[in-house]
């Protein structure tokens, strides 16, 4: 807490200094020149004299005017990628870096913006409507591999099932950065590499459900799923290509440790020239980039730097040593400071309500846990009352400086899966009176101490969240005060995330030992629905590995979900999500709070920076440019 205070004060002072500095602040282009002057001198004190009394050294101006400096962009992020071999890393910064130094697009040449997919190196995404993807009925013999109820199993009898196949056509002119032409077989090679048990790939969900993936010509692949695998994302089943000509003699488990792991031959706009472990990755323009004829990429060099400290990163931004501060390196604490710095023309901040959303889970079956708890929230009225009594706007205003939006369902309102007509959804605007009425109705009566009770049981719950997360601490405090106002006592609990989310035989919280839990899910292209289905309710038999931490199980919701999941047509799927959200918002197993705000900042000289909530901030790295 003391540390937090000091950081705040530090930011305050920083802001004041920036404010004071405003009138004298140099235009951003001058930044580099000042820098070179400093670098020219030896001890700093001596340089002071030089700058004030002497004219600049005569060697500098000609050097500056001669050849134009290569256009360099410095992207600063808080972490270092663990590898640039995409199989086996799940770090956000790896994805970010790979988009420049390996591939074009977020995954396998397909981008993911605005919660939807866009083809990058493919001519188009296949669709059943267009005929380049199709569902066929196939006969399955007993013992064949099929998908049933979400699991890959052997068929127990002969039957007829749906099978999807999709055809992917690559664009012309694709080349690896070493100049070799990229072929469809490289994608197949990528698929096969991931099949190896030691490939290090984290999850084999799609590979396990692939019946075949083949190249039919130099630029075409065809994916066929296993029978029964009705998969809405069939149109993304183009596997990330790997350069077969480079890797064919390396065992999959050795790729990571080979040169490829840190200097991959890719097809992105840049290629890695130097990786200073722990400090930075330097990349240069890829001359073989397939869009080189369009003058892309616009930059000559990109440097990804790893700066774990937010203050340092901000200072580097202001000092002109960083051009882009990524979302993992900046947080909402810095908003007032960034706004101030923007006023003074020092940098440009961006606030985008992101794909991560915070929510409070209710434990709806607390009595069934191995360590049973008092039942407080199995009654829907109580859950609704809590929702009405929670001032989510206050949370947004106080914690996120009003930069975010309140959520009603489990996807942002801009998501395609959010019902066009949301009047069917139950909504919970802040209304403490209604909350109290609902609690009275549910039989929880206010006692002398202001806390409600029913049958001798106090309405006193513990809310648990991960330790060391400041915004969540702030949410908890507001929530606690909100609840006190309606007669609900809330105790705060901050276990480390490894304890809170620890699954396995010895699960504590995850086996149902909690009342309320505050954490976040990340919204993908597919809406977050699965985690509220019955078959995701954790059980002892599956060592508490299910993801439905609310222990809420509702047949109507499950029906809507399976309708959604088994359907491949977007227009029809939206109807099912509307059904699902109708049930969800009324039953409210979890209370969505708000979308987290992604904070980015750039030096004002950066051009074309267009962050997107569901894509990485440098998704258009080839189009980014700097003013010179």
């Amino acid at each position: 807490m003391r540390k937090a205070m000091l950081v705040l004060i530090a930011l305050g002072v920083l802001a004041i200094v920036v404010a004071c500095a405003a009138p004298t602040a140099s235009p951003p282009q001058v930044v580099k020149e000042v820098q070179t002057v400093i670098v020219a001198g030896t001890p700093v004190e001596k340089v002071v004299e030089k700058v004030i009394t002497a004219t600049p050294p005569p060697t500098q101006p000609p050097a500056a005017t001669k050849a134009p400096q290569p256009k360099t962009l410095v992207v600063c992020m808080s972490q270092e990628p663990d590898t640039l071999y995409f199989n086996g890393s799940n770090m956000m910064v790896t994805t970010l870096t790979l988009e420049a130094g390996y591939r074009d697009g977020q995954l396998g040449g397909i981008d993911q913006r605005d919660y939807d997919y866009q083809p990058i190196i493919l001519q188009k995404l296949p669709s059943i409507k267009d005929g380049d993807a199709k569902i066929t009925k196939v006969k399955v013999k007993a013992g064949d591999t099929i998908e049933k109820d979400g699991a890959v199993v052997k068929a127990d009898k002969d039957m007829e099932l749906d099978q999807i196949s999709a055809t992917f056509k690559m664009k012309a002119g694709l080349k690896w950065s070493d100049g070799t032409v990229m072929k469809a077989s490289d994608s197949v090679f990528g698929y096969k590499t991931g099949l190896d048990k030691d490939s290090g790939i984290t999850t084999r969900y799609t590979r396990d459900r692939t019946a075949s993936y083949v190249a039919t010509d130099a630029s075409t692949t065809v994916w066929t799923g296993i029978p029964g695998f009705v998969y809405a994302l069939y149109n993304t089943m183009f596997f990330e290509p790997l350069p077969e000509h480079v890797l064919k003699d390396i065992a999959p488990k050795d790729i990571k440790a080979s040169a490829f792991g840190r200097k991959p031959v890719g097809y992105g706009p840049f290629r890695v020239t130097n990786w200073v472990s722990g400090d930075r990755i330097e990349m240069e323009k890829n001359p073989n980039y397939w869009r080189a004829s369009e003058g892309l990429p616009k930059l000559d060099r990109v440097i990804y730097r790893f700066i774990p400290d937010t203050n340092q990163l901000t200072a580097q931004l202001i000092a002109g040593q960083c051009d882009i501060g990524t979302q993992d390196a900046l947080n909402t604490d810095a908003i007032p400071f960034l706004d101030q710095a923007e006023k003074n023309g020092l940098l440009k901040p961006y606030y985008i309500p992101g794909s991560t959303w915070e929510h409070i889970d209710f434990n709806t079956q607390p009595t069934k846990a191995p360590k049973p708890r008092v039942d407080l929230f199995s009654d829907v009225k109580v859950r609704q009352a809590i929702a009405f009594g929670t001032n989510r706007k206050e949370m947004n205003d106080k914690i996120l400086f009003g930069k975010s939006v309140i959520m009603d369902a489990t996807v942002p309102a801009t998501h395609w899966a959010y019902p066009k007509d949301d009047s069917q959804l139950a909504k919970y605007p802040y209304d403490p009176k209604k909350a109290e009425a609902l609690l009275d109705e549910a039989g929880w009566v206010k006692g002398a101490d202001g806390v409600r009770a029913k049958g001798g049981v106090k309405l006193s719950a513990t809310i648990s969240t991960t330790a060391g997360n400041k915004p969540r601490e702030a949410i908890m405090q507001i929530f606690q005060a909100n609840m006190k106002a309606i007669g609900v006592e809330i105790k705060l609990d901050f276990p480390p995330s490894t304890v809170l989310f620890g699954r396995g035989k010895d699960s504590d919280y995850m086996s149902g030992n909690f009342d309320l839990m505050l954490y976040a899910w990340v919204a993908g292209t597919e809406p977050t629905l699965l985690v509220y289905t019955c078959d995701q309710v954790p059980t002892a038999a599956l060592t508490w590995s299910g993801q439905n931490n609310t222990y809420w199980c509702n047949a109507d919701f499950d029906k809507a979900y399976s309708g959604f999941n088994g359907n491949l047509v977007r227009e029809d799927r939206v109807k099912f999500t509307a059904d699902a959200y109708k049930v969800f918002t009324k039953e409210l197993p979890a209370l969505p709070l708000y979308q987290r705000v992604n904070v980015y900042a750039t030096n004002p000289r950066v051009l074309n920076f267009k962050p997107n909530p569901s894509a990485s901030e440098t998704w258009n790295i080839e189009e980014l440019d700097v003013k010179q």
Partner: protein, 342 residues
């Protein structure tokens, strides 16, 4: 002395093996671990790790074996077991990083950081020595003078000042504010410039070193100067200092020849015991100034459950701590003739 050293080296070896075993156990028993972040991925079916996935990854890292066996493999390798290729730490096989830099050998990973760490910690150590010893002597000789009070105030400032705050203030003033005023400013962080004519030159690196070295040395300087002061005061009270004065020795020699040598004896312990920091680095300072050193590597490996990196780091740290203790004892015999080991 030789006998003594042999005995000490023997007991050191045992201490190190026992501590490495305990460290290994504690790391492995702590919640989290190398696969932790993978289990946290996502709410969708595609990104969620299944139990089969988990088991496959565990096997790949060798985490499926019982813990004591894992320790033995780590220590002595498994090439004498079925199908193993590991040689083990005692035969120089430090293994590969699991998380921080997947597939990179731990040796390579550590050597990429150790240079920066030695530069920063060494500079801070030197700075501390150069400042703390004279400051301590002067403060003691001029006890209760205004100078002494000023130096005492400095020492309290240095001890009480939180590193991250002090570092931030330096960045604020000497990087940002100086630049705003049009004065030559110091770079806010990093070990060298990324571009410009002087990139990576000695001067460039020196400029990057100044602030972190000052910040890192501040606490050490302050506390060592206090040690030195009190040690010096203690010595100045000694009879032999009076004897020296009674011989008519000039005051400067009384201080330098008679007092300082004795006063340094306890300080040398403190200094020698701080030597492992040349390897360990300084987490906070390195973080604040984006200094690419061992401290950051350690924290990174710790939070991500990169056991191979952690184990080597902690093992070397343990060896250095034990070795520094031995070194301190050996150095004693050189500076204090009263001490002899047998």
């Amino acid at each position: 002395m030789v006998n003594y050293l042999i005995r000490r080296l023997f007991s050191m070896t045992i201490v190190i093996i026992v501590s490495s075993f305990l460290i290994y156990m504690m790391l492995n028993l702590a919640p989290g671990g190398p696969l932790w972040e993978l289990t946290q991925a996502g709410s969708s079916r595609e990104s969620a790790l299944t139990r089969e996935d988990y088991a496959r990854l565990e096997k790949m890292l060798g985490l499926d074996k019982p813990m004591h066996l894992r320790y033995i493999i780590w220590l002595a390798g498994d090439d004498w077991l079925d199908g193993g290729t590991r040689k083990g730490v005692i035969r120089g096989d430090w293994g590969e990083s699991w998380r921080v830099a997947q597939g990179m050998s731990v040796m390579e990973l550590i050597s990429s950081r150790i240079g920066n760490t030695i530069i920063l910690s060494g500079a801070a150590l030197l700075l501390s020595l150069i400042i703390a010893i004279p400051v301590g002597i002067i403060a003691a000789v001029k006890q209760y003078s205004k100078l002494d009070y000023a130096l005492t105030a400095f020492a309290f400032f240095g001890v009480a000042m939180p590193v991250f705050w002090f570092g931030l203030m330096l960045i604020l003033v000497f990087s940002l504010q100086f630049k705003a005023w049009g004065l030559p400013a110091l770079p806010p962080g990093g070990t060298e410039s990324l571009f410009g004519p002087d990139q990576g030159s000695f001067l460039d690196r020196l400029q990057h070193l100044i602030m972190p070295a000052i910040v890192l040395s501040l606490f050490q300087t302050a506390s060592w100067s206090r040690y030195m002061r009190s040690s010096m005061l203690e010595v100045l009270k000694q009879d032999y200092v009076r004897t020296a004065r009674a011989k008519g020795v000039i005051e400067r020699l009384v201080i330098t020849k008679h007092a300082v040598r004795n006063a340094l004896i306890p300080i040398v312990t403190v200094i020698v015991l701080s030597l492992p920091s040349l390897f360990n680095g300084a987490v906070i300072t390195e973080t604040i100034f984006a200094w690419n050193g061992m401290g950051r590597l350690y924290i990174n490996a710790l939070t991500r459950g990169d056991y191979p990196v952690l184990m080597i780091f902690l093992l070397i740290s343990a060896i250095l701590v034990v070795a520094a203790n031995l070194l301190a004892d050996v150095v004693y015999t050189f500076i204090d003739p009263r001490i002899r080991y047998s």
